[in-house]
Amino acid sequence: MTSLTRSWRWVEGEAIGYRRVWRGTVISSFVNPVLFLSAMGLGLGTLVDSSTDDLGVPYLTFVATGLMAATAMQTSAGEGAFPVMAGIKWRKEFHGAITTPLSPTDIVRGKMIWGSIRLTFVLTVFALISVIFGALDLGPALLAVPPAVLTGLAFQASVTAFTVTRENEVSLSTLFRFGIIPLFLFSGTFFPISQLPDPLQVAAYFTPLFHGVELVRKVSLPGAGASIVTPLPIWVNVVYLVAMAAAGIFLGSRWLDRRLKP
């Protein structure tokens, strides 16, 4: 078996377990975008659009693209946190799997593959609902999916690396409270970062969700002006996210190995 085959064996196991819980998760992947797009897009959007036309696109379009990246972050950060802690500590199924030909690296990669399959589904649903809401045309909506998946991968990988070094779930909720939620709010999802005071604007350039949001907008709204995207070249966004994903997978595998094999 090659390393990739072994990771797929892990994916197969995940898929078998998923057959029993899929209904709940599918329902929430429909409900979330509907809630967000009606509240932020329709509700807030009417107010924003009537007071300014600085964005160059309707606020609903602006926020839908941002939310694709932000949803990817939230979904994938969750995927890298609780199921990983469960495998190590609560249900301990990782400990059993590594007594077979599978290694901790195979598990991390398998989890990443499984995470991106699920995320692709979640984001495709989000894209289609954005079309129904009139936020995006079908083409741009679907174009937004791959960059958002890349954003998710970067988060899943780095949160996995974080989780495998943590003793318990307390640090996981800390991560969400002081990491994920602030990123959600201040990375250009709901307003362009040019609205932030200068120091915060500079800080935003270093945060990952900013690059995800930018990449999604640059890919799906190619004509977008300086009002909604920064002049940063697109390859910088891509390199940032790819590097973050690669580092997360590399370190996550090594640290999981150390954790499972004391």
Binding site: R9, G13, I16, G17, E93, G96, I98, T99, T100, K261
Partner: protein, 308 residues
């Protein structure tokens, strides 16, 4: 002698400064049932984990199937069946899915796995629970499933860390039968257990570990012959007499153990010992004579007190 299937020389495991396994040597031959006995914390599980390749060796040398666990772990694990001390079933999967997934991890074909699942579920007496989730199973059922899972890949070496803890007598005997069968088919077994009758029944050879070291090694019969005289006489006295017992029994020259509620005398001739007791004017309330067992060896070697 053929090359041993598992060989350890100076095998050592340290956790920071704490020495869990202290330079132990052993050879396990192909087709053998080999036991590790020892009190809690003796280092049995730590040793099992090194053999299973899921715990790096701190010092010394270990080979499994002639391979190096550090560099060739995956090759070793392909032919291994592992029953860990702590169950780690996938609680989100059903009984048969737990077996199926492990078959896939072992790169088996779907059809082969399905056929094997039927057999293993029958052995584990879980056929009627095949499609039920694992979570609500009783502790003993989970244990049986963990054991069945370890056999999915038809392993050459089966490592069982306290396999029968939590099993009822029927399930224990079923497991023993299965393990005999596996052995007859050529598999090698490594077993840790706290049940001395189990060790006596199953193990061709065993080692007794204490505080990370091997303190005795041999077949159950050899160990009994070497460490425990043939018979054991257990004497019970009224509590108020127990205090003076040590000095009143000193003529037995140390072949005694004085416990809180009784005295144990090791002897080659129980009848003679009883005569002598009467001659010394010692009249216990109750006398029990039995053959000495592996349990006596174990207690003698590792002490009766819980030292922690």
């Amino acid at each position: 002698m053929a090359e041993p299937l598992v060989q350890a020389r100076g095998l050592t495991k340290r956790f920071d400064d704490f020495v869990a396994v202290d330079a132990i040597d052993f050879d396990i031959a192909k087709g053998e049932a080999f036991g590790f006995l020892g009190p809690n914390g003796a280092g049995k599980t730590s040793t099992m984990k090194m053999i299973t390749t899921v715990s790096p060796i701190t010092e010394g040398k270990l080979t499994v199937f002639g391979l190096d666990p550090d560099a060739q772990g995956r090759q070793i694990r392909q032919h291994l069946g592992v029953v860990p001390q702590e169950d780690n079933l996938d609680l989100e999967l059903t009984v048969s899915e737990n077996l199926y997934v492990y078959g896939r991890y072992h790169d088996m074909h779907r059809a082969d796995i399905k056929a094997r699942i039927v057999d293993l579920l029958e052995f584990a007496q879980l056929s009627d629970r095949a499609d039920s989730p694992v979570e609500p199973l009783s502790g003993g059922m989970k244990r049986r499933l963990t054991i069945a899972r370890a056999l999915i890949n038809d392993p050459d070496l089966v490592i069982l860390d306290e396999p029968t803890t939590g099993l009822d007598p029927q399930a224990r005997h079923l497991l023993w039968d299965r393990l005999y069968r596996l052995k007859k088919e050529g598999a090698t077994l490594i077993i840790t257990t706290h049940y001395m009758d189990e060790a006596e029944q199953l193990c061709d050879r065993l080692v007794v570990m204490d505080k990370g070291k091997i303190v005795a090694e041999g077949s159950p019969r050899q160990l009994i012959a070497q460490y425990a005289p043939r018979e054991v006489v257990e004497l019970r006295f009224p509590e108020e007499l127990m205090g003076a017992m040590a000095s009143r029994l000193d003529w037995l020259e140390g072949n005694t153990e004085i416990l809180a509620d009784r005295v144990i005398v090791y002897t080659d001739d129980a009848e003679d010992t009883q005569h002598q007791l009467t001659e010394h004017g010692i009249h216990p309330e109750q006398v029990l004579v039995r053959r000495s067992s592996l349990e006596d060896v174990f207690l003698k070697l590792t002490g009766r007190r819980l030292i922690d």
